[in-house]
Amino acid sequence: MHNAQELIVCEHCDSVYRRRTLARGEVADCVVCGAVLERHQWLGVDAQFALIVAAFIVFVIANVSPIVTLGLSGMTAATTLWGAVIAMWNDGAQVVAFLSAMTLFFFPLSQILIFGWVLWFARDGRRAPGFAQAMSALVRVKPWSMIEVFMLGTLVAVVKAHTYFDVVPGPGIWAFGFLTLLVTLFSSHDPRQLWDITREARA
């Protein structure tokens, strides 16, 4: 019997493989169904932690600064992400307000905080308190974080508004763009690798 750590099972077709060390840029694909088994994790734990800190700072900027400002014959109106959530709530679309608050604020924020928490400890090869729960939460929350979609939505809204108003992009739109970039960088990293490179602290 092999050590279970050496084996990996394809999540889409149940094929079993022996894990091997991947070279830089290499991706292990399942030969049966073509799913990605593993990617080479080209960023070390320290680099990932640095990126998470950057993502947190950009996330704060994205949330407090106006995304766009509209002008109409001398009047101006600006909005932040939370402005959009509140507008939907007040205009009778509470379901949409709730969905937006979750997918654009709470889920991305908890992803950043939880990942930062486990990475901070993983820098010394340790498992953070609540490691198992944190790792499970990361897997569960991942599909519900929709920063990239919001970024594209902002662009569509700007183009639509441009027909009738003067549109001035605010710092928030740049922050969201940068955040989209960081999210894309992270999407090639599977947090589950932390199970392999950390050890339970000796009591």
Partner: protein, 206 residues
């Protein structure tokens, strides 16, 4: 190269949350020794749940398309737009590129999700052995593009917050956008409930 063995043939199973490979246990209440989540060979009630959520999404999809999603009001006019008429307007206003993107995210992607999920569920229930690899690819496609349908919902949210010039000009969300948001969430949940490993179980022929 020979096809690798399957975990079910080797008497093994893999945790669906942390991927730890363990020996098969015939206990519905087993927990992963590493991450503590429930261990099961396949997602539980996969087909029933996926069908139920897909059917619910299909029902909500009708009002999502028939009801207007957004009202644009100015001094002289009041204009209600559905998803489709919003796309036509975007096209006419001189942004055909963006119109194509919104059309893809709001019309093509949800339709494809219904067709693909329906096909995957029917083919699994018939234990079809036909193009299993391609069907697994289709599943990955649905997972990958699913959440982009929220695009129109976010557009309405941003415009409603921005265009607030008292009586001069206002944009308001209308019920259609709520139904549409619910459709996207339901189709995502349906895809998550589906277990692609079922495509490879009990195939009649290769």
């Amino acid at each position: 190269m020979n096809a690798p063995p399957r975990a079910s043939e080797l008497g093994m199973m893999s945790c669906h949350v942390c991927r730890l490979v363990t020996a098969y246990v015939d206990d519905p209440h087993a927990h992963c020794p590493r991450c503590g989540n429930a261990l099961h060979v396949r997602k539980r009630g996969s087909i029933g749940r996926a069908w139920a959520l897909l059917a619910a999404a299909a029902i909500f999809y009708i009002p999502a398309n028939l009801f207007p999603i957004m009202r644009t009001q100015s001094l002289s006019s009041k204009d209600d737009n559905t998803i489709l008429s919003g796309i036509v307007e975007l096209w006419r206003a001189g942004s055909p590129g963006l119109a194509v993107i919104v059309f893809t995210a709001s019309i093509v992607v949800p339709m494809l999700k219904f067709i693909i999920m329906g096909y995957l569920l029917v083919s699994v229930q018939r234990s079809s052995g036909f193009v299993a690899k391609q069907r697994t690819r289709l599943y990955r496609f649905v997972e990958l593009v699913g959440y982009w349908s929220m695009l129109d919902v976010f557009v309405v949210a941003i415009l409603s917050a921005l265009v607030h010039f008292k009586i001069l000009s206002r944009v308001e969300p209308l019920p259609g956008v709520v139904y549409f948001g619910v459709v996207v969430v339901l189709t995502m949940l349906s895809a998550m409930s589906f277990d692609p490993r079922l495509i490879w179980d009990n195939r009649k022929s290769q």
